[in-house]
Symmetry: C2
Subunit: 191 residues, 2 copies
Amino acid sequence: MELLEREIEKKGKVLPGNILKVGSFLNQQMDAEFVSKLAKEIYNHFKDKNINKILTVEASGIAFAILVAKEFKCKMVFAKKSQALNADGSLYQARCESFTRKTVNNITLPKEYLDKDDVVLIVDDFLAVGNAITALREIISQSGATLAGVTTIVEKGFQKGGDKLREEGIDLLSLAIVDKMEDGKITFRKN
Amino acid sequence: MELLEREIEKKGKVLPGNILKVGSFLNQQMDAEFVSKLAKEIYNHFKDKNINKILTVEASGIAFAILVAKEFKCKMVFAKKSQALNADGSLYQARCESFTRKTVNNITLPKEYLDKDDVVLIVDDFLAVGNAITALREIISQSGATLAGVTTIVEKGFQKGGDKLREEGIDLLSLAIVDKMEDGKITFRKN
């Protein structure tokens, strides 16, 4: 998406270790008008799939997810990160490794928020190796709901999580795919 | 707000210890259309105050805050919860006690996201004793920005945080004020 790529070039910062910082407009600070335009693009791509629920994981995916849910006029649910496993049976739960922080969390969702009648779009702000998406898919699988597709704002193409989803035949829409970051210069994948 | 009070009566659950559970429609699961109506109400109340930034704290306030920011066509920023104090001077930070969990966190915000030219509306989903609001006000004070007002979806009137803000002359809009919860019955404050 041209608009997003220009914004990343203008405001994103490439830090050592292939870290792309876009917190000033896509994460801890977010321009509601700009991100609403991204959400409309998502809606146009997935609008014929009968999606009735948007699923994300706290915290930074929430703002984008609710704006996407607004386009679909549907509900947004987010999985919580939790240290401990919950044993009372009221939650779906899945292991989720953090690639950047080298930690393992569980993510959880009350069972009452997702069931076999739901058609779900997974929304997250970033996709790298894809561990959060894998954990969210595990939760969908436990619930018996249908996965309609996956969408992210920025995919780091060189970390291959997105390509693996495409090889599986999953309908993945990433609004910008960064294939290379070198000397502060960002190369986007051509459509 | 009539619409919200009816929804709380219909879907909210009162748990032991004066806990009001509204996670099924206002927190971990959120109906984007319904919450957008709440956000419009906020906009109508504060629209003449030249607000250019919405400030909240992660995680559950974020979804409501970005929908409010969308009404104001402005930016949303959220403070992060953090265990440790950060010493490099790049962050505003304030202590925040959790009344429910009896823990103390620091909340932080990069200095680049808030400065003296900003006119800020603090948005959060819940207001009880008001500790999160106090910490967010401390961050605004450090930045030199102007506080235009405070807004929450549900205020627990009996925990007095809201009344203290009103006594200070702060423009506080709570969309529903719960004055009593007894035997599962909720009493709302009359306007």
